[in-house]
């Protein structure tokens, strides 16, 4: 919008030590990568706003304030039913349904007239950032600074700056291994074992698959990581799954008694920690799916959830 209505001023929000601060590369909606400064829970957000005048005009304003907002944006149109097939079409006609779970405000300036560029310092002390930032298919969780210059007659001038937040968790005390026993009667019987059910994002999934009975003509076996994003609460829940990784772990047909090792490094993939009922709005969960493909390209799979966390 700023293209059409050229704003008379230039607002720059700068964070302290922004250059040296760690940044996170995130893909935006258009698929472009952008770099966002990274914050953690309880960390102060501190910086300064610089307002420069254009064309040396004066500017009268009714006050300048800066907000730190944490919000959950669900793109799902609330009117549409929970049909996954609609979700793609509905993307275009998103009704942004925002839910702010964090709202902090700081006045930077009382109403005044700006004659020359001005710096305003701001600081939100020890902000609790309960949730991690997230950009999903149908839901975003964003933190952003919003600087607003109020004007009398015309619309307010707004400048936003997005932050990225990581929430670190401590590793669970005792990693418990996951064992599962699945099969098709008289056809296939496998047992698989993952070293644990909770993984940090830089972790590696290690496991082993035992073939106890093989009567299928298996061609290969792969492991996939599926991210499921669900919005809302049942019964009005809306879910969307996305296969993030496909990883072949076996080539050819095993015989009874074979044990196939699994090792999948997670660090290289763009994974999201498990979010459960974030602000009762949405969840993001990751499933590990073991898929067997037989010679007729039939797929047999078993999914199990893994909990991902940021260490």
């Amino acid at each position: 919008m700023s293209l059409f209505f050229k704003s008379p001023i230039d607002i720059e929000v700068r964070l302290d030590n922004e250059d040296s601060r760690q940044h996170v590369e995130v893909k935006n909606r258009k698929g472009r990568k952008e770099k966002l400064p990274l914050y953690e829970d309880g960390e102060s957000v501190k910086g300064q706003v610089t307002i420069r005048l254009r064309n040396n005009n004066k500017l009268d304003h009714l006050g300048i304030k800066i907000q730190l907002i944490g919000t959950i944006e669900t793109h799902s149109n609330s009117s549409s039913n929970n049909n996954a097939s609609n979700s793609n079409n509905s993307n275009l006609t998103l009704n942004n349904n925002n839910d702010n779970f964090l709202y902090l405000l700081q006045e930077l300036s009382a109403p005044a007239t700006l004659n020359h560029p001005e710096n305003y310092h701001f600081e939100f002390k020890n902000v609790e950032k309960q949730f991690e930032s997230y950009r999903g298919l149908n839901v975003n969780l964003r933190y952003y600074l919003k600087c607003i210059v109020l004007r009398k007659n015309s619309s307010n001038i707004i400048r936003e700056k997005e932050l990225w937040v990581y929430n670190h968790q401590f590793p669970p005390d005792s990693p418990s291994s996951v064992k599962m026993d699945v099969g098709i009667e008289d056809c296939l019987h496998i047992e698989f074992e993952y070293s644990k059910s909770r993984y940090s994002l830089k972790d590696v999934i290690v496991g082993r698959i035992y073939f106890l009975l093989v009567r299928l003509k298996i061609k290969h076996m792969e492991l996939s990581l599926i991210k499921r994003e669900s919005i809302g609460t049942p019964p009005n829940q809306f879910s969307n799954s996305e296969t993030l990784v496909r990883f072949e772990i076996m080539d050819g047909a095993p015989v009874r008694g074979e044990a196939i090792p699994i090792r999948l490094f997670l660090g290289g993939f763009d994974l999201t920690p498990t979010f459960r009922d974030v602000n009762k709005k949405f969840s993001v969960r990751t499933f590990l799916s073991l898929v067997l493909i037989d010679e007729d390209s039939r797929r047999y799979f078993k999914q199990s959830e893994i909990i991902l966390y940021r260490e």
Partner: protein, 887 residues
């Protein structure tokens, strides 16, 4: 298909190299590598074509690993090792992992053990047989020089890690390889079997690798390596795998190991699936061990020569002892016995170098017993084993035993007995007579034959038949064989003996040899007839003749310095020969001549005491008569006659006139049965010439009137036979020859011995030639004494008779020829005496001339006549009596 893949691989390899050469593009390079590696995911290629892909890719990856190695401080290899594991497809992922992993292993302070474990574990992900085999082969190739062993062991790695690594790889590869057999359609079974054989070397390479590890001793091999390998081989229950892998095991590991683990190895073979040819395996094992001895000998020689050079060897042995001590300590749980043995070895080792060989032999415990009990067990456990397999095994065992225990004939004998027993069990089956079995048996039987060798004792060469002599069961086994086999063996044996041309000097040897040759020597009339009918080709007949000829040659090899002994040996031989039936006609002549030779030797040796030996000689003569009778009874009349003549020659030579007479009577009796007139004529002429020789002994030397009478009888009889000859010309010639019987130009009693000799020569000459005997003159004739047999009347009668006979010939050319010949005879008599008048000769010449004029005949008689006349005219120059002859 293949070409497409190859093109892609080449392109991607190029791209990869480009990326590697430009900085900071390692990731891209890896991506290209991953792309070309994806070509190895194909299932559409045969093993051969897949191998072609593999080769190209191997080279490409080699380039990559070289790059990684050179740049390794820049690229953290452990990170890289993780990085390549993000590849989505397992085959490219693992190839990359191995490539990076092996580079990682090669650098200093790398966690070699962990990398090895990880790679071998992750390779399990490829369960497709061909892809898996090649992947694991790649693993094995790349790790080849990196595995820790004695020469490159570090703190946290050990030889065990390497063996574990290789054995695991081996087991997995074998599983994949075996699985290949069971995939796909069952009608492509054949094709798969072939494919598997193409792939076998990949599996076997692991065992080769294992054997190349430095620092494996036999204890470690026995306790760790072999049990696992064998277990896998047994468990896979696959024909190709079991046969191939056991063979590889046998071939790649050192002989010492095999000796040390023989029990295990043999026991393992008993647990293989029944289709496996145990024969092949055991044979290759036995061959290997048999060759081992030869190799060891070579080594030992080298060592000895080294020792001469200095005491290098000594230190070598010392270090060896040290090593042994170490291993000994390591294997404390080995039982006490073995320890003791070890100690003994040690002591031996320290003592003398030369005992080393003996030590090794001791060390081999009883190799033969092991194998023998193994074969016995086989018989028990695998009754389905075919007889040709059994025989093949036994054959090899024989050879093995001979290499290890050349002096232990009992072993061989046991085996032969065993063979005999087993053969008995299979007697009526078809297999028992299969060509393979036959061949095997032949080989078994040939072993002792081949073992016959020459050795030197006191600088004298002698034949070594010890082995054969000590085998009690050999002849039994030989006799149980088909005549074809028997004769084959006998032939080989014959050739062998003849090759060596060794004298057979004692009875045992002669007995032994003739036992072996019995199939050739003996006649089996019924069989002979059959075989003659079935194979009456001239070839086989010729063959049989050649064999007989060889037997005859053998007879000549029988020799002992002592003639009496020698004749005993010949007697032994003759016993065997006499079983030959009609075959004796080929061998007896040689036998008889050998006897004659002995008599001759006796004569020369005991010339002065000849009478002492007459009895023995008499015995020999009696024997000879018997042989000749046998020949006669088989219808070889002519041969019998000729031999008799030869024998009578000898008996004459030693003045045993009664025998000579006997022989002649025998001659006459056989002669009468001759049918062929040509033979008759030949024999008659021979008789005449021989009789002339005997004249001296019967008439001149003998004091016995009886002899003279006998002689008269003999010559009268001869003349009678002459007259009875069938054809006129033969009659005529025989008669004029016979005339000489009554004409002895020399008086032996009055001449010196020297002249006697000369006279003798001339006598024999004069029968057939017309040489002028100008040294002999009329004086000779005149001095014919009372003892002389010369009877002019008889001579004349004979000449007249022959004239009459020739005259009665219908063909004039023949009769003219005969006339001329008679003329020649007359001239001879004219020269040597006065019983022929010049007129007689003139008349004869006249007669011939007349006949020549009347008949138009060819040149031959004419020339003969001319030559005769020429002779007369020349004779005139030296002998005035010839003046009386006119023509």
């Amino acid at each position: 298909m293949l070409n497409d893949s190859l093109t892609i691989i080449k392109q991607q390899t190029l791209l990869m190299k480009k990326c590697l050469d430009s900085k900071g593009k390692l990731m891209d390079a890896l991506k290209h590598a991953s792309t070309f590696l994806s070509e190895l995911r194909t299932s559409a290629l045969t093993p051969k074509h897949y191998y072609e892909l593999y080769i190209v890719i191997y080279d490409a990856l080699e380039y990559l690993s070289n790059y990684l190695k050179e740049n390794h401080p820049n690229n953290h290899l452990s990170d890289l090792y993780e990085l390549v594991q993000y590849a989505g497809n397992i085959v490219p992922r693992l190839y990359l992992m191995i490539t990076v992993g092996t580079v990682y292993m090669s650098i200093l302070n790398a966690p070699i053990k962990e990398i090895m474990k990880d790679m071998i574990e992750m390779c399990r992900g490829v369960q497709h047989p061909i892809r898996g085999l090649f992947l694991r082969y790649y693993l094995s190739q790349k790790t080849k020089d990196l595995l820790p062993d004695k020469s490159k062991v570090s703190e946290n790695t050990s030889l065990e890690d390497s063996t574990e690594f290789i054995i695991t790889n081996f087991i997995e590869m074998n599983k994949l390889w075996v699985r290949l057999q069971h995939q796909g359609h069952s009608r492509e079974r054949q094709k798969r079997t072939k494919e598997r054989q193409e792939l076998q070397i990949l599996v076997g390479s692991n065992l080769v690798r294992l054997s190349q590890l430095d620092g494996i001793d036999k204890f470690y091999y026995k306790n760790v390596i072999l049990p696992r390998i064998l277990e896998q081989i047994i468990q896979c229950r696959d024909l190709i795998a079991q046969e191939y892998l056991l063979d590889v095991v046998i071939q790649v590991f050192p002989d010492e190991f095999h000796l040390f683990t023989l029990d295990m190895l043999l026991k393992a073979t008993l647990n293989l699936i029944p289709q496996v040819s145990l024969k092949k395996i055991s044979i290759s094992l036995m061959d290997r061990l048999a060759n081992f001895i030869h190799r060891e000998d070579g080594k030992l020689k080298n060592k000895e020569s080294q020792k001469e050079n200095g005491n290098e060897t000594k230190t070598e042995i010392e270090t060896k002892t040290e090593i042994e001590t170490i291993t000994e300590n390591q294997n404390q749980n080995q039982n006490q016995k073995e320890k003791e043995k070890e100690k003994e070895e040690k002591i031996d080792n320290n003592q003398v170098d030369a005992t080393e060989k003996e030590k090794e032999k001791e060390n081999q415990f009883d190799l033969f017993q092991k194998f023998y009990s193994y074969i016995q067990k086989l018989d028990e456990l695998r009754p389905d084993l075919s007889i040709d397999d059994i025989t093949a095994l036994l054959e090899k065992l024989c050879k093995l035993s001979l290499t290890y225990y050349p002096k232990n004939y009992k072993n061989i004998d046991t085996l032969l007995l065993h063979t005999l027993k087993r053969l008995d069990e299979f007697k009526d089956t078809r297999e028992a007579s299969s060509p393979i079995t036959e061949q095997n048996l032949k080989n078994i039987l040939l072993i002792p034959v081949d073992f016959v060798s020459i050795f030197e004792v006191h600088e004298q060469k002698s034949i070594n038949l010890d082995l054969l002599l000590n085998l009690k069961n050999y002849t039994k086994l030989l006799e149980s064989q088909s005549p074809k086999v028997q004769s084959f063996i006998s032939q080989q044996f014959l050739d062998k003996i003849l090759d060596y041309k060794m004298q057979l000097q004692n009875e045992d040897i002669v007995n032994c040899i003739f036992n072996l040759l019995s199939s050739i020597v003996n006649s089996n009339l019924s069989r002979n007839k059959k075989s003659k009918k079935s194979s009456s080709t001239s070839n086989s007949l010729l063959f049989a003749l050649i064999n007989q000829e060889k037997v005859a040659k053998i007879l000549h090899l029988i020799y002992n310095k002592d003639p009496i002994e020698n004749s005993k040996l010949l007697l032994v031989a003759s016993k065997y020969l006499s079983k030959g039936g009609s075959k004796i006609k080929y061998t007896y002549s040689s036998l008889i001549f050998n006897f004659l030779k002995i008599i001759r030797r006796k004569i020369t040796k005991y010339e002065k005491r000849i009478n002492d030996y007459k009895r023995e000689i008499k015995n020999i003569f009696k024997g000879l008569t018997k042989y000749i009778n046998e020949l006669y009874s088989f219808g070889s009349l002519e041969l019998a006659l000729k031999l008799l003549i030869s024998v009578s020659n000898i008996s004459n030579e030693i003045m045993m006139n009664e025998f000579t007479n006997e022989f002649f009577i025998k001659i006459f009796s056989i002669y009468e049965e001759l049918i062929n007139s040509k033979q008759q004529y030949q024999i008659i002429t021979e008789l005449i010439s021989v009789l002339i020789l005997y004249y001296k002994n019967f008439y001149v030397e003998s004091k016995n009137d009886y002899d003279k009478e006998n002689y008269d009888n003999l010559i009268t009889k001869t003349v009678l036979y002459s007259v009875k000859l069938l054809k006129k010309p033969d009659q005529c010639r025989a008669v004029y020859f016979a005339s000489h019987l009554w004409f002895q130009p020399n008086d032996f009693s009055s001449k010196s011995s020297k002249e006697k000799e000369r006279g003798k020569e001339k006598e024999s000459d004069s029968v057939n030639t017309e040489n002028g005997e100008n040294t002999e003159n009329g004086a000779n004739v005149g001095s014919v004494g009372s003892a002389s047999i010369t009877n002019n009347k008889r001579v004349m009668e004979c000449l007249q008779k022959s004239l009459r006979i020739s005259d009665s010939c219908i063909e004039s050319s023949v009769s003219i020829e005969l006339f001329i010949e008679i003329l020649n005879q007359c001239i001879y008599y004219y020269i040597h005496g006065n019983l022929i008048s010049a007129k007689y000769i003139n008349d004869l010449i006249e007669l011939i001339k007349n006949n020549l004029e009347n008949v138009d005949i060819d040149e031959l008689p004419v020339n003969h006549f001319k030559r005769t006349l020429n002779y007369i005219s020349r004779q005139k120059l030296i002998d005035e009596r010839f003046e009386l002859i006119r023509y």
